[in-house]
């Protein structure tokens, strides 16, 4: 059993796992660069049955302990008043969303967090202002993210329904899950680590993770993620274990992946249907497809990631 890293050790890891300059000093795409045309073509060959699975929660319009700023859905015109204004009766609506937080499935842009005043590749935090993000905005992913997806299902590995809120997933767990699932995470993969959070929420109701905690990765997973050269990291939690237990580094996985490794993060996915599909087919790899909205200067996009078997 690995012992918990000290805050100083984690700080040292940040530099050690850095990809700054790896794809040039002007690069804003980070580890998405690991996904080559060849990688995408190979991922398409994984499709056999044609079964599609969504990895998104519905956009949450209802307030809850984990959703203090719900999505607003307003009708501009309904079926009751459609005839009064138009030759072609139609309905239309309006959505407003603050994609970050704990409730909605979203992709974090690399500009979302900073460390020592810098974002990925050393760009200054002041590149994000009232106008939005001038560097590393979410529209660097405008051509979509298509690659091999891999699921590491930690509750399945441990024979439990879900991980409790104080559980930290270690690098040893990731190794064990790979072995159990007979899959090896490699360059350009989109890696999902399941905690069973969505199942726990369905069973026990919502909770405020900042108060009651959330299962996630321990900081000792960072070198593992760096060595495997993953392109994107996703979780049904927020990848980080909350609280981290460190004084300065509240979310060490966020800081190291987004800022230092240039790895985009998918937060709050729903991996329950994926877990069942993987168990049923005995395959923990699939074609992964995600198409973030082209939100110029945005810091995130709500997404509906898909797995195709």
């Amino acid at each position: 059993m690995a012992s918990k890293l000290t805050e100083q050790e984690v700080n040292n890891l940040l530099e050690k796992c850095s990809n700054w300059g790896r794809w040039g000093k002007d690069d804003q795409r980070g580890a998405l660069n690991y996904i080559t045309d060849e990688k995408r073509a190979a991922a398409a060959k994984l499709v056999r049955t044609g079964q599609a699975v969504s990895l998104a929660l519905p956009l949450a319009t209802v307030p809850a302990p984990d959703n203090p700023t719900p999505v607003m859905h307003l009708m501009q015109q309904t079926g009751f008043d459609a005839h009064e204004v138009e030759l072609l009766p139609y309905v239309g609506d309006y959505f407003a969303i603050a994609p970050h937080g704990l409730a909605n499935t979203h992709l974090d842009a690399l500009c979302h967090v900073f460390h020592r005043g810098k974002m990925y590749n050393g760009f200054d935090a002041t590149e994000v202002g009232s106008h939005g993000a001038k560097k590393c905005a979410i529209d660097v992913a405008r051509e979509g993210v298509i690659s091999r997806g891999v699921l590491l299902d930690i509750p399945k590995l441990k024979g439990v329904q879900w991980l409790e809120n104080d559980v930290k997933i270690t690098a040893d767990d990731l190794d064990a899950a790979e072995k159990d699932h007979r899959v090896t995470v490699g360059e350009g993969d989109v890696l999902f680590v399941r905690t069973g959070r969505a199942r726990r929420r369905k069973s026990k109701g919502a909770w405020d993770a900042f108060q009651a905690g959330l299962a996630g990765l321990a900081a000792d997973c960072l070198p593992w993620l760096h060595q495997r050269k993953i392109a994107v990291l996703g979780s049904d939690g927020v990848s980080d274990a909350v609280p981290s237990g460190y004084q300065q580094l509240a979310l060490p996985i966020h800081t190291c992946t987004l800022v230092y490794m240039g790895v985009h993060l998918i937060d709050n996915a729903d991996l329950d249907a994926l877990s069942e599909a993987c168990a049923r087919s005995g395959r923990y790899e699939f074609q992964f497809v995600m198409a973030p909205l082209v939100l110029t200067q945005g810091t995130a996009s709500p997404v509906n990631p898909l797995a195709l078997f």
């Binding site: 044609g50 459609a82 959505f95 009232s130 939005g132 939100l295």
Partner: protein
């Protein structure tokens, strides 16, 4: 040269091409039912080079003649002090400015939406039937491009210029496609090339090119799953004036249960298809899961 159908002929056509009941009386997915797992698996086998093309315009935050309701983008927290940046977006996805997928509940014909559900299923609360979340598992299938300016050997079609079934046949032949069951069919008019050259215009006043109503039968015979366009599929405004609203919207969404992608950007796709000499590709689209919503902004992808 084809002549325009009369209003009565279009109404008769609506009866002829009706898909209500085809997939059961409770069905809310319409022609998406044409996309089987086998169709998806076959579409994945089309991938050769791994080149990817986005078919989405940027979500525009600038108001303009075609964009009276721009996306609102507000920063909740920006840069230092602090360690994170957070923002907020608001969008009314319909209209002529954003790449979006229309739900089947978006328009009505004689008080009904697809499969005969009442327009009153859409109230203050949103849509109880045929909302956009029927597509929650995404849409993956064979995508095909019919590049109309290319077959007509023009840069773009002019506003209000009709596309006829003969054009669809010619483009089908050019791409050696045989558009068929479960395909996602994309029709390029060259709208955005014209915009790049001449600047934006107000499509409500000056118009957009689109499909003549006589194309509805062609679309029905080919059993397409989804129809998309760089404009709004219909000729805008309706060529039938005050007598009849947009016949392609009604004839697809309501009558056939075909979801519509409006305002796609098909310029890069046109170039990629010409370069590869292939007008078919793996099409992927993942609408947001907006329960009771009438549309979703989308970023459709083509993979070669």
């Amino acid at each position: 040269m084809a002549t325009r159908l009369t209003v009565n002929e279009v109404k008769s056509l609506y009866e002829k091409i009706n898909n209500w009941g085809r997939w059961g009386k409770e069905d809310q997915r319409g022609a998406l039912n044409f996309i089987t797992p086998q169709k998806r698996a076959a579409a994945a086998r089309l991938v050769e080079t791994g080149q990817i093309v986005s078919l989405s315009l940027p979500l525009s935050t600038e108001s303009g003649p075609e964009n009276p309701q721009p996306v609102q983008h507000m920063m909740l927290h920006a840069g230092p002090p602090g360690y994170a940046s957070l923002d907020f977006f608001a969008i009314a996805p319909h209209g002529m400015a954003f790449t979006h997928l229309d739900a089947l509940c978006h328009v009505f014909w004689q008080g009904q939406m697809y499969n005969g559900f009442s327009e009153r299923e859409v109230g203050r609360f949103g849509a109880r039937r045929c909302a956009i979340d029927v597509t929650r598992d995404g849409i993956m299938s064979r995508g095909v491009l019919l590049d109309i300016p290319r077959v007509r050997n023009v840069e773009w079609l002019e506003p209000r210029e009709p596309i006829y079934p003969e054009d669809l046949d010619a483009a089908d032949k050019l791409g050696n496609l045989r558009v068929s069951e479960g395909d996602v069919l994309l029709i390029r008019t060259g709208r955005h090339k014209r915009r790049a050259a001449k600047g934006p215009w107000d499509p409500r006043r000056e118009g957009l090119p689109g499909l003549d109503a006589s194309c509805l039968e062609w679309l029905h015979e080919r059993r397409i799953a989804v129809l998309g366009c760089d404009a709004v599929s219909d000729i805008a405004p309706s060529p039938y004036g005050a007598e009849m609203g947009l016949p392609i919207h009604v004839g697809t969404l309501v009558i056939q249960g075909i979801h519509l992608i409006d305002n796609a950007d098909l310029e890069a796709l046109s170039n990629a298809c010409a370069k590869h000499g292939r007008y078919e590709f793996l099409f992927s689209m993942a609408p947001l899961i907006l329960e009771r919503g009438t549309a979703s902004p989308v970023n459709p992808l083509a993979l070669f």
